[in-house]
């Protein structure tokens, strides 16, 4: 390993050192504030370290990692989201029982796992990153031991995620068997020499798809998502919805683009079908959902159905739009879950949509943020979601994916109904007036999110130019 390798691994080293240092501090004294402050600092440092790394890209750390602009961008998104989630988590977790400090340890491990995923270009790093992420998520989901929901979600998540991992591994094994390489590029070049895909290879791809599809919660691997979303503590749900999914999408994109999966007719058709079914299933399931977290889970199924379009587009525009989409999706989802976790702090669990009745009159700012988030998810102009959808559809139709674009449109319409339901609920007057004041830091997070949503929605050119220039 060279010094350059170390420089390039700086963000990872920082993220990896954080849990160790926190563990050490806990052995000395348990002070949540210190841990919290330190966590923020570490996220900040690792974010800054990205700029240190930036001049040296692209850099390959053979054979496991590749640090290029694409991964840096995802890293930035992940660390940024991690930073905001840390604040939300602190506000949320500090209201819970004892043993709060360990939460942050695991949070960092999860972030590390996600970070590894985005730089992985080898099955081993892929697998390790994924498992690091997953295992820490099991713990985080079940973190609130006193709540049976939390435990149930944790167990379910663990079992199904393990099954999915097994599928993934088996698939990787099969691909390795067929191609003799575990490196993405190696797989791709081996594929290039093949005329047709052998059954082993196809089975391998399908099983790999199970692993990825499970994490992205694409139909038919989506069943766990609502239960876990609902059972997990709100900040953890936010973590799953943003960091975990973002990282998995990053690796999926990288793998898919490397092997040029869209060129294979069978894979193309299968993925198109999954995309369309995911859109419809997600949106239809969300339609009458009374639990906000479950609703967002279903909506996320649909959104990742949309995102498959970028994969299938198979163009640089597709990748750009995917990055933009995931960025805006993450900021938007953070907004939604931010509100949920902040509200859960002041009034128990704010899961049910009914809990949001009259929010506009109790705390207009929160209601506005939530509305913005919902409208952004629905893809209404002035918000990030609109531009994201625009880029996505544009990339899709440029590659001639009219059917997918068309079903996206239909689904956008269906989805309007339930997004609007949330908005409407917040604006209906209710009798019960609970004071809902939120801590300053919480407000700060919300402000950042609002600015993010609006900025991406009104002046998307800046960000999209950055994305375009980096790749």
């Amino acid at each position: 390993m060279t010094a350059l390798d170390f420089i390039c691994l700086a963000p990872f080293l920082l993220l990896a050192s954080a849990p160790i240092i926190i563990m050490l501090t806990i052995t000395i004294t348990r002070n949540i504030k210190v841990v919290y402050g330190f966590s923020l600092l570490m996220f900040l440092l690792s974010f800054i370290s990205l700029f240190i790394v930036a001049p040296y890209i692209p850099h390959v750390i053979a054979p496991l990692f590749i640090i290029d602009s694409y991964s840096l961008l995802f890293l930035a998104i992940i660390i940024f989201a991690g930073f905001l989630i840390t604040i939300l988590s602190y506000i949320y977790i500090s209201q819970q029982g004892d043993d709060k400090e360990e939460y942050f340890i695991i949070l960092f491990v999860a972030a590390l796992g996600a970070s590894v995923l985005v730089v992985a270009n080898h099955f081993i790093s892929f697998f390790l990153g994924l498992e690091t992420l997953s295992i820490s998520l099991y713990i985080l989901v079940a973190y609130i031991k006193t709540r049976s929901y939390s435990i149930e979600a944790g167990v379910k998540f663990l079992v199904i995620a393990s099954v999915a991992s097994a599928f993934l591994l088996f698939g990787m094994g099969l691909i390795y068997t067929a191609t003799g390489s575990m490196n993405f590029k190696g797989v791709a070049s081996a594929l290039g020499s093949l005329h047709a895909l052998s059954p082993i290879l196809l089975t391998g791809f399908v099983m790999l798809l199970v692993g990825i599809g499970f994490k992205l919660a694409l139909v038919p691997f989506h069943m766990w998502l609502p239960d876990v979303y609902q059972g997990a503590p709100a900040p953890v749900t936010a973590l799953i919805a943003t960091i975990s999914k973002g990282a998995v999408l990053a690796i999926a994109l990288r793998f898919f683009m490397d092997i040029q999966g869209f060129n294979n007719q069978a894979i193309f058709i299968a993925l198109s079908a999954i995309a369309i079914i995911s859109m419809f299933t997600g949106n239809l399931l969300a339609l009458n959902q009374g639990n906000l977290k479950r609703m967002l889970a279903y909506s996320s199924i649909a959104h990742f159905g949309y995102l498959l379009i970028t994969l299938l587009a198979g163009s640089t525009e597709g990748i750009h739009s995917a990055i933009f989409y995931i960025a805006s999706y993450i900021i938007t989802t953070l907004g939604a879950f931010g509100i949920i976790s902040l509200l859960s702090v002041c009034s128990g669990n704010a899961d049910s949509i009914d809990d949001y009745k009259g929010l506009f009159y109790k705390n207009p700012f929160m209601a506005i943020v939530m509305s913005l988030a919902m409208l952004s998810l629905a893809g209404i102009p002035l918000t990030a979601g609109f531009i994201a959808k625009f880029y996505l559809v544009l990339a899709g139709v440029k590659s001639g994916l009219w059917l997918l674009a068309f079903s996206l449109v239909i689904n956008s319409v269906i989805s309007l109904y339930y997004y609007l339901r949330v908005v409407t609920t917040m604006f209906t007057t209710s009798d019960q007036v609970k004071p809902s004041t939120i801590p300053l830091m919480g407000n700060l997070v919300l402000v950042v999110i609002v600015i993010g949503i609006l900025f991406l929605g009104i002046l998307p050119a800046w960000v999209s130019d950055i994305i375009a220039s980096l790749s």
């Binding site: 697998f127 079940a142 049976s148 149930e152 167990v155 663990l158 393990s162 088996f170 003799g180």
Partner: protein, 106 residues
């Protein structure tokens, strides 16, 4: 030395995988389910070993070691969760875990 063709070897691993999967589907006890998952993971490990030997690379075995490690970590977390599950639900029946579900309400 009896040489067995690659296909047969893979088929064998696949069989193992299926056994795990079927076990997972038919057992309700959560501990048995975890064990089935272990079988599935190991069958995957087996594929890597087979492939490694087929291509005469060490990578497959490296991967296998990683799989073992990860499986161990998973099981440890799993067991901890099962403990908590028993604490809350007083049962190890996986089907009892259905408080989180669609309520079919408006």
């Amino acid at each position: 030395m009896v040489t067995v063709s690659l296909e047969v070897q893979i088929l064998f691993a696949g069989l193992l995988f299926l056994i795990g999967l079927v076990g997972l589907l038919v057992r309700r006890n959560i501990i048995f389910m975890l064990m089935s998952i272990e079988i599935m993971l190991n069958s995957a490990g087996l594929v890597f070993v087979i492939a490694g030997s087929h291509w005469a690379q060490a990578d497959g075995q490296v991967m296998f070691i990683f799989i073992l490690t990860v499986a161990a970590a998973e099981v440890s977390v799993g067991l901890a969760l099962i403990l908590q599950m028993y604490h809350h639900f007083k049962t190890l029946d996986a089907d009892a875990l259905n408080t989180l579900r669609d309520k079919n309400e408006r």
